[in-house]
């Protein structure tokens, strides 16, 4: 395998190294969460969007912020509130008297990285506007379509649903997000470091863009061409089939989800510096990818547990 590693190194020295630097930079801000950071970048390179769901104060926004900065390009932050309107996200057409025509003023969504903070605080109508734009990669308004810049990466954060004053995202729209991750409490040493070291806001302010939009596009394109062997494809199919036949689940994963699994696994393989996909890539990304797309039957536990169970029981070919 040495040959191919060398070949990969010769082929794209710049973007891959910068990617590593970007990940290292984010790890310097968010301590002890390298797995989540890897997943976040996987979502970026797979061309999907990321949902971070956790309690307030564990660093969701900081993570999103850090990723947005190091990814380079334009980035925008939208703080979702219950009086936020679709136009506040997408933009508005204003009447220009001199030109006697409407002029489109792009909203904050026209950026490479969009940070949608506390997305479940907005009304379903506003949420829909965001989710439509994420899916279509464009904004339609007044019979005009306005393409979004590329790469286009949405990082949404969300508080768990049992808090007051939120509008939970509809189940059918959750799969607009490629991955859903949560951060959890930091480990003891990391929490101590957090207390001792400089303020996160200072650190964020010190972050520089490492990647460029062109880098991200190039890396995405490279990831999409990585070698996937027959056994790995078998494994993906076996997992998807397991969700479709599992008694606790209301419905299984869709073919779109299977495609998403493949893309995410490829992105992770690229992050790991391999030029082929391992079952490990599929397995490590399966829970964040599948759990929010699956709904359990009443009294059948949580989809996270079912997903773990499926991973344990599906034989790796």
């Amino acid at each position: 395998m040495n040959d191919s590693a060398d070949r990969a190194g010769d082929h794209r020295p710049g973007p891959l190294q910068r990617l590593e630097q970007a990940i290292a930079a984010v790890n310097g801000v968010i301590l002890g969460k390298s797995r989540q950071i890897e997943l976040a970048f996987s979502a970026l390179l797979a061309g999907g969007h990321l949902l971070i769901e956790d309690l307030p104060g564990v660093g969701k926004t900081t993570l999103a912020h850090a990723i947005a900065i190091v990814t380079g390009g334009q980035w925008q932050r939208i703080q979702f509130t219950n009086d936020l309107l679709p136009a506040d996200i997408l933009g508005v057409s204003v009447w220009r008297r001199e030109a006697e025509s409407f002029e489109f003023r792009p909203g904050p969504i026209f950026a490479n990285v969009v940070l949608a903070d506390e997305v479940n605080r907005a009304t379903p109508r506003t949420q829909s506007a965001l989710l439509e734009a994420m899916a279509e990669q464009q904004v339609s308004m007044d019979a005009h379509t306005h393409g979004l810049p590329r790469p286009f990466f949405v990082i949404a954060t969300q508080n768990p649903l049992d808090l007051v004053g939120t509008y939970p995202l509809p189940d059918s729209q959750l799969d607009r997000f490629l991955l859903r991750i949560s951060l959890g409490y930091p480990a003891r040493e990391q929490e101590r470091a957090l207390l001792v070291e400089a303020d996160r806001r200072t650190l964020l302010a010190g972050l520089q863009p490492v990647l460029s939009p062109a880098d991200v596009l190039e890396l995405s394109a490279a990831a999409a061409t990585l070698h996937v062997s027959e056994p790995v494809l078998d494994y993906i199919q076996a997992l998807v089939e397991a969700t479709r036949t599992h008694a606790a689940l209301r419905a299984g994963l869709s073919p779109r989800a299977a495609l998403a699994m493949l893309a995410t696994a490829r992105a992770r393989a690229l992050l790991e510096g391999r030029d082929y996909v391992l079952p490990d890539d599929v397995k490590q990304t399966f829970a964040p990818l599948a759990a929010h797309r699956l709904q359990c039957n009443p009294n059948s536990g949580e989809s996270e547990h079912v997903v773990e169970q499926i991973l344990d029981e599906t034989r790796v070919p």
């Binding site: 070698h227 062997s229 082929y276 079952p279 490990d280 397995k283 029981e313 790796v316």
Partner: protein
């Protein structure tokens, strides 16, 4: 072309050569066989110990020396035996320059040829089994050479003998041979058969192991007694004759020089009249083993000769060519026939001739008998009575006879077997003025009831007498029957049971009889598939009447149908499948070892996860992680080369898990 052979490959090729040549080695002079084996062993040692290679001088000395030795011993390079021995010698010489893949391929391929040449000498079932094993070994050697050529011998194999794994050899050899079976079947059934074998006349006998000769001197039949191999098998269409009639007639001997009985050339003429079969006649077919002689055997008296043979005036069946392969012929015998009621003067003189001055006591005895019994029949009865009543014994353990053989036997020794009795009896008859001659052949046989055939072995060889009586013609008299009735009623084995053990134990004897049934089946179904049977078979599947060209086209087409998918399979798919299998098997082996070491590989656990988990329980987890990474790369990465897979196989084969403080971890549980 200049690729090196690994020592284990050399060992394998040498072993394949020895196995293929072994039947030839046993048939050639001992010193030559020893020299060939020595050459093989030396070549193996050169490979194992990395001894210096022989120079061109040594190599040419070996080659020309071997050639000279063969010519010296056989006097020729022609003929089956000399030619195959030469082949063995030359392959052995070739071993001395076998240092490249090409040479190893030549030697291995010649192994097939050595095996095929065995069938010029014998087509026995057991030998066939042995040669199949030889074929498998040669095939495995060729596979191994190819592995060397592809440079995919695992590193563990570089250390010579340990590198040869029996299971792999067996698989390589048998797998390819199994694949060849359909093709072999097509060729067997459709390839045009020749009416007679290509190799025609033999120049030398079957290495001294022969059937009855056309002479009888003391000891000729005794030699046959110890030969337990089958002479022929007979299947009767209708009635099976009673045992006392089972006299299988062979050469008839007239001339006597005091020691040796021999045939009369004059007997070669056609008989004056032949028997006419009636309802007492027996019809049977005989499958005769190669004897290198021209005699065919039939019961008294054959009505006519089978194709390729003729009937002599003494009712011997003489074939045009010696019997060099298994042959089959049909005969009808008429038991109630009277041979030659008239005896020509010349023949009468020969049938009464005795060498001058020999056997005075026998002559005296004959004259005394003649005076007492003027009638021939009465005289004969008296002699048989004398044999029966006096102290005559039937035994193989007897003494050689001197100048007056009949005298010594009849009056002093009185211990002997059929040859002694027949000879002495005929001398006595001639001295008494009764024309007499000796008939040699086989008597009796073993009835194999379940398969319905009669097995006659070489050890059933027999000699008896015929006397010419006025009005009755030649009449069979068996003096042995008077001495030892059981010899005739139950066979040589029973008559000799007290004195001899050459048939081994009863158990062995039964085993041999069972084996002969298999051999008979083999002869009939495989060896007996001759030109005629092939025609019948083709007629049944509607392929008769085709021209030679059309048949050749059918043959080629069928062969292609059988071969093409096979070739495709072996070329592409099988190679890939086999090697991924090999990779998986190697990893499964690792998993089994982990299981035994107490780690339970999970169902949904990837190799890397398993390896990562092992750091808690294994002292050499880092090695496992390396293995898991290599396996993952080969299994899931872009197609790895065969060499990498082989290296992984070897590497993982040598890996064993070592538990990290097993006792403590148990306590903590």
């Amino acid at each position: 072309m200049n690729q090196a052979l690994s020592p284990s490959t050399v060992l394998l090729v040498v072993a394949a050569f020895v196995v293929a040549a072994l039947p030839h080695l046993t048939a050639m002079p001992g010193w030559l066989a020893l020299a060939i084996v020595a050459a093989a062993v030396w070549r193996a040692l050169v490979a194992l110990l990395d001894l210096p290679r022989p120079g061109w001088l040594v190599r040419s000395a070996l080659t020309f020396g071997g050639l000279a030795l063969v010519i010296m011993h056989y006097g020729t390079l022609w003929g089956r035996r000399a030619a195959t021995v030469l082949l063995c010698v030359m392959v052995a010489a070739k071993l001395s320059e076998m240092f490249r893949l090409r040479d190893a391929r030549v030697v291995a391929t010649l192994g097939y040829f050595l095996i095929a040449t065995q069938f010029l000498f014998s087509q026995q079932l057991l030998l066939f089994g042995y040669l199949l094993i030889g074929c498998a070994l040669v095939t495995a050697a060729l596979v191994r050479i190819q592995r060397d050529a592809d440079k995919i011998s695992p590193p563990a194999d570089d250390g010579a003998p340990g590198g040869i794994r029996v299971a792999r050899l067996a698989r390589d050899g048998t797998l390819l041979m199994l694949m060849a079976i359909p093709f072999a079947l097509v060729m067997f059934t459709l390839f045009p058969r020749l009416g007679s074998p290509l190799w025609g006349m033999p120049e030398n006998a079957l290495d001294g192991r022969t059937g009855l000769s056309d002479e009888m001197s003391p000891g000729t039949i005794a030699d046959l007694f110890v030969d337990d191999s089958p002479a022929f098998r007979a299947e009767f269409d209708g009635l099976v004759p009673p045992r006392e009639q089972l006299y299988w007639r062979g050469p008839v001997l007239w001339r006597f020089d005091g020691r040796t009985w021999s045939r009369l050339f004059y007997s070669n003429r056609a008989p004056e009249r032949t028997p006419r079969p009636d309802r007492n006649a027996f019809a049977y077919s005989v499958q005769m083993e190669p004897s290198e002689r021209r005699w065919l055997f039939a019961l008294d008296y054959p009505v006519g000769a089978p194709a390729d043979a003729r009937l002599s005036a003494d009712f011997e069946l003489i074939r045009k060519r010696p019997v060099t392969t298994l042959i089959s012929y049909d005969v009808i015998s008429q038991p109630d026939f009277r041979d030659a009621p008239e005896l020509q003067q010349t023949l009468r003189r020969i049938a009464l001739h005795l060498p001058e001055g020999s056997n005075p006591r026998t002559r005296q005895r004959a004259e005394a008998l003649r005076r007492r019994y003027p009638e021939d029949e009465a005289l004969i009865d008296a002699v048989l009575e004398w044999f029966n009543q006096e102290e005559f014994f039937y035994s193989l353990e007897t003494a050689p006879l001197g100048r007056h053989g009949a005298d010594e036997f009849l009056f002093d020794l009185r211990v002997g077997y059929c040859e002694y009795y027949a000879s002495a009896f005929v001398v006595l008859m001639r001295a008494a003025g009764i024309p007499a001659r000796i008939v040699t052949g086989y008597q009796g046989g073993l009835w194999q009831p379940s398969d319905g055939y009669l097995l006659v072995r070489q050890s059933d060889a027999h000699a008896w007498a015929e006397v010419w009586l006025e009005g009755r013609g030649w009449t069979r008299v068996d003096p042995t029957a008077a001495v030892s009735p059981s010899r005739i009623e139950e066979g040589a084995r029973s008559a000799l049971s007290d004195s001899a053990g050459w048939f081994g134990t009863e158990w062995l004897y039964q085993l041999r009889n069972q084996y002969d049934r298999l051999q008979n089946l083999w002869n009939k179904s495989i060896l007996g598939f001759d030109a005629q049977r092939q025609r019948d078979f083709l007629a049944r599947i509607g392929l008769d009447g085709l021209s030679i060209g059309a048949r050749a086209a059918v043959l080629v087409a069928l062969a292609a149908i059988v071969l093409v998918p096979l070739v495709l399979l072996t070329q592409g798919l099988a190679r890939w499948v086999r090697n991924t299998d090999r990779l998986d098997r190697a990893w499964q082996r690792v998993r089994r070892r982990l299981q035994r070491a107490g780690m339970r590989p999970g169902r949904g656990e990837t190799p890397l996860e398993l390896a990562a988990r092992s750091t808690d329980s294994l002292a050499n987890a880092d090695e496992l992680i390396t293995l898991a990474e290599k396996y993952s790369a080969l299994k899931y990465g872009p197609v790895g080369s065969l060499g990498e897979i082989a290296r992984f196989d070897a590497e993982s084969a040598g890996w064993r898990p070592y538990r990290l403080n097993p006792r403590r971890s148990k306590q903590s549980q």
